[in-house]
Structures are given as structure tokens and as C-alpha cells.
């Protein structure tokens, strides 16, 4: 009898602990926080973001990780340039002026339309790079946008591409830098929320350099001869988000649109 009572007590205790344990689990959010394997850590268990950059078996840097851009370039891709340093073609200068005068009310992303390049890389919503060296391919995943495939198998960019929001991307190594060339855009994307325009002639070059475990430099070259008189560069500094994964972000309910009056 006493044995049974003890067993009941043990079962009750286990159940109570179990329920308490369950209650302590944070709301499920697609691995908002989960330790990433292979992350170098300090004595306190926190990710050591200044540890050396990891390398692939062939010695090239492994860029795999969840990264996030810097806010100012999402708003203004030319944030570090003076106004007269953006080499606008005349129509593009006019169009940019119009978009600013109406406070970017026609921003495609406000209509839940896709983010084009380079905005996908500069928006302060994380992107995940997965280096699939064995398949000669780099995959980039996003929270609210379609993935990109960057083919590293030596194929050239298409000569007469079907225009698209995300374009076509090929990559190659230049020493420790990953250089990605992309073309085949549809000209509907804006370079930033401020509204720097693009055309179907847009050719974007991204040069990624992993400085250490937690930091990258990203040089973006905008070459769009129909919109800009010469290629121009932007220097981004994405940082690694340790111990997290991408979360879904389906643009389903933009209630702002009808209220975006501009001026």
C-alpha cells in the first residue's frame, strides 16, 4: 500500500515536473533560438563572433550562416554617397525625384511584390547562405522572399535572359572572395526603399568576404547603363546572427497600401 502511494507520488511529481517543463518551453517559432552546431564559443557559451572564419575542406572560406544587412542601405543604397555622386541617367534622376516627392508610395514591396537585388541582401531581414560545395552551388534563402540559386559550376550568365524579379546568378572564387554576377532582371525592382530605379539592363556584382566568424564585407556593384552612366559601388557589412534560423514571413496583409497617400 505504501509502495503504491509512493509510486503515485512519484508519478504525480513526474507529471508536475513534466507539465512545468512544457510550460517553460518558449512559443514555437521555427527555431528562433537553437544552438548552431560548429559555432565557436567563449567560456560563457556565447558565440565568439570574432573567431576565425570557418573554411571548407578545399581551404576556401565557408560562408554558410544566417546573415543580416545594415539598415541604412535598405532605406538608401547610396547612403554613403553625396547626392551628385549617384551617376543617374537624366530620366532616372527624374524618376528618383518623383519617387522621393511622393515618399516612395509606389514602392513595390509595399504591395507585397518581391524584393529585387540588391535589396534582398541589404534589407534588415536575415538571409541564409548555404554553401553546397559538392554540388558546385550556393543557395541563399530568405524569410519573406524566394530563394536564389548561385551556380558555381562555371556556366556563363544567359545572353538573352527572360526578365525576372530575382534574375540569374553565377558565382566564382577570387582568392578568398566569393564573386556573384547576376543579370536578367525585369526592371520593376527598386534598389532601395527610397526608390533608386533599375532597368532590364541591371547587372549586379556581389563580392563577399568573410572577415571572421561573425562579420562579412559585401561590395555591391550596380551596373545598369540604361539608368546610370557608369557602374557604382556600395559597401555593405552583413553580420552573422548566431544560434537562430530563418522565420517565415509571408507578406499577407499589407493594410497600409490604401493609406499610403505620399504627399
Amino acid at each position: 500500500m505504501r509502495k503504491l502511494a509512493l509510486r503515485n507520488l512519484a508519478v504525480t511529481a513526474a507529471l508536475t515536473l513534466g507539465i512545468a517543463g512544457l510550460a517553460a518551453i518558449p512559443a514555437p517559432a521555427q527555431w528562433l533560438k537553437y544552438p548552431t552546431k560548429g559555432t565557436p564559443r567563449g567560456p560563457d557559451g556565447k558565440a565568439d563572433l570574432t573567431a576565425p572564419a570557418p573554411r571548407r575542406p578545399d581551404g576556401k572560406p565557408d560562408l554558410t550562416g544566417v546573415w543580416i544587412g545594415v539598415t541604412k542601405y535598405m532605406i538608401d543604397i547610396a547612403a554613403d554617397l553625396k547626392e551628385n555622386e549617384v551617376p543617374f541617367q537624366p530620366w532616372a534622376a527624374e524618376e528618383f525625384k518623383r519617387r522621393r516627392a511622393t515618399e516612395s508610395k509606389d514602392d513595390p514591396s509595399a504591395r507585397c511584390l518581391p524584393l529585387s537585388l540588391p535589396l534582398k541582401q541589404t534589407i534588415t531581414s536575415p538571409f541564409k547562405m548555404i554553401d553546397i560545395a559538392a554540388k558546385e552551388e550556393m543557395v541563399m534563402l530568405y524569410e519573406g522572399a524566394r530563394h536564389r540559386e548561385i551556380f558555381m559550376d562555371g556556366r556563363p550568365l544567359p545572353k538573352d535572359p527572360e526578365p525576372s524579379w530575382y534574375g540569374y546568378s553565377v558565382g566564382k572564387w577570387d582568392g578568398d572572395d566569393l564573386v556573384i554576377d547576376s543579370n536578367g532582371f525585369n526592371g520593376k525592382g527598386w534598389l532601395d526603399i527610397n526608390g533608386h530605379p533599375t532597368t532590364e539592363e541591371l547587372h549586379v556584382t556581389e563580392r563577399y568576404h568573410r572577415i571572421d566568424f561573425g562579420h562579412m564585407s559585401l561590395e555591391i556593384t550596380i551596373d545598369d547603363p540604361k539608368a546610370y552612366t557608369r557602374p557604382w559601388k556600395v559597401r555593405e557589412s552583413p553580420r552573422l546572427l548566431p544560434d537562430t534560423e530563418l522565420l517565415e514571413a509571408v507578406c499577407e496583409n499589407n493594410q497600409d497600401l490604401e493609406h499610403m497617400v505620399g504627399k
Binding site: 528562433l32 547626392e83 515618399e103 507585397c112 546572427l241
Partner: protein
């Protein structure tokens, strides 16, 4: 030097909490950063959706009437990474929201801060760091 409007806009943006900086659309197309409002009311609904959450609240006016306001917050994933969830504010909670008013005159605001009755700040202003800061 960039034009004055850009300077003003960037100053306003700099004042906004991180969550608002990550708006998926132009703040200035919809809200007037110079027209600020403080709303004290009862939450009727929290719409936890992309690209921005909305907090709906009932606010009593001077004449004893009740006005429904809808106040925009950050994108859900930004808020999640700042430590908030869909349950951080519930229907019936008394809140004070400070924000910028919609340009079109509708009863909408872009919330710069949301405070619960016990003084806790929710959804905004938790961190000057941008999205995804690991805590």
C-alpha cells in the same frame, strides 16, 4: 549634402525604435512624423501578421464617445527576435501608445512605443540594436 527632406526623414527614422526602422514600406508615405499622438485605451485585437502587426484599441474621447484606433508595429519576425510574441499584448489590456498619425486622416498610427498599464514596454523600444540581435 542630401536634400532637406531626406535629412528630416532620416532624423525621424533615427528616433524610431528598431522595429519601425525595419518597415517594409515607406513610413513617410503613410504617416506624418511631425504629427504625434499619445493614445490611452483598451486593446480589442492584436493582428500578428506580415508585413506589420497591428494593435487595435478603443480610446475614449473628451465627449464620452469611443474611437477605434489601429496602430502599426514592426514585422512579426523582428519583434520575435526582440523577445516579443503574439501574446505579449492581449485583448482587454490597457495600453498607452505613442506614435505618428496617418496623413490621410484615418484613425491609424505608427507606434513608436507601446506601454502596458504596469509600465512594461512592449513591441518597440526594447533595443537600439537592429533585428535579430542575439540575446
Amino acid at each position: 549634402m542630401r536634400n532637406m527632406r531626406w535629412l528630416i526623414a532620416s532624423s525621424i527614422l533615427a528616433l524610431m525604435a528598431a522595429a519601425q526602422l525595419l518597415a517594409h514600406h515607406s513610413f513617410a508615405a503613410e504617416f506624418d512624423g511631425n504629427k504625434r499622438i499619445t493614445l490611452k485605451g483598451t486593446v480589442t485585437k492584436v493582428d500578428w501578421r506580415n508585413p506589420h502587426i497591428y494593435v487595435y484599441l478603443k480610446v475614449k474621447d473628451d465627449r464620452g464617445g469611443v474611437i477605434e484606433w489601429a496602430c502599426e508595429g514592426g514585422p512579426p519576425n523582428v519583434l520575435l527576435r526582440e523577445g516579443w510574441t503574439r501574446n505579449s499584448v492581449k485583448e482587454g489590456d490597457e495600453v498607452t501608445i505613442e506614435g505618428a498619425v496617418a496623413k490621410d486622416g484615418s484613425k491609424r498610427c505608427n507606434s513608436r512605443s507601446v506601454n502596458l498599464a504596469d509600465g512594461r514596454k512592449v513591441f518597440a523600444g526594447s533595443s537600439e540594436d537592429s533585428a535579430g540581435s542575439s540575446k
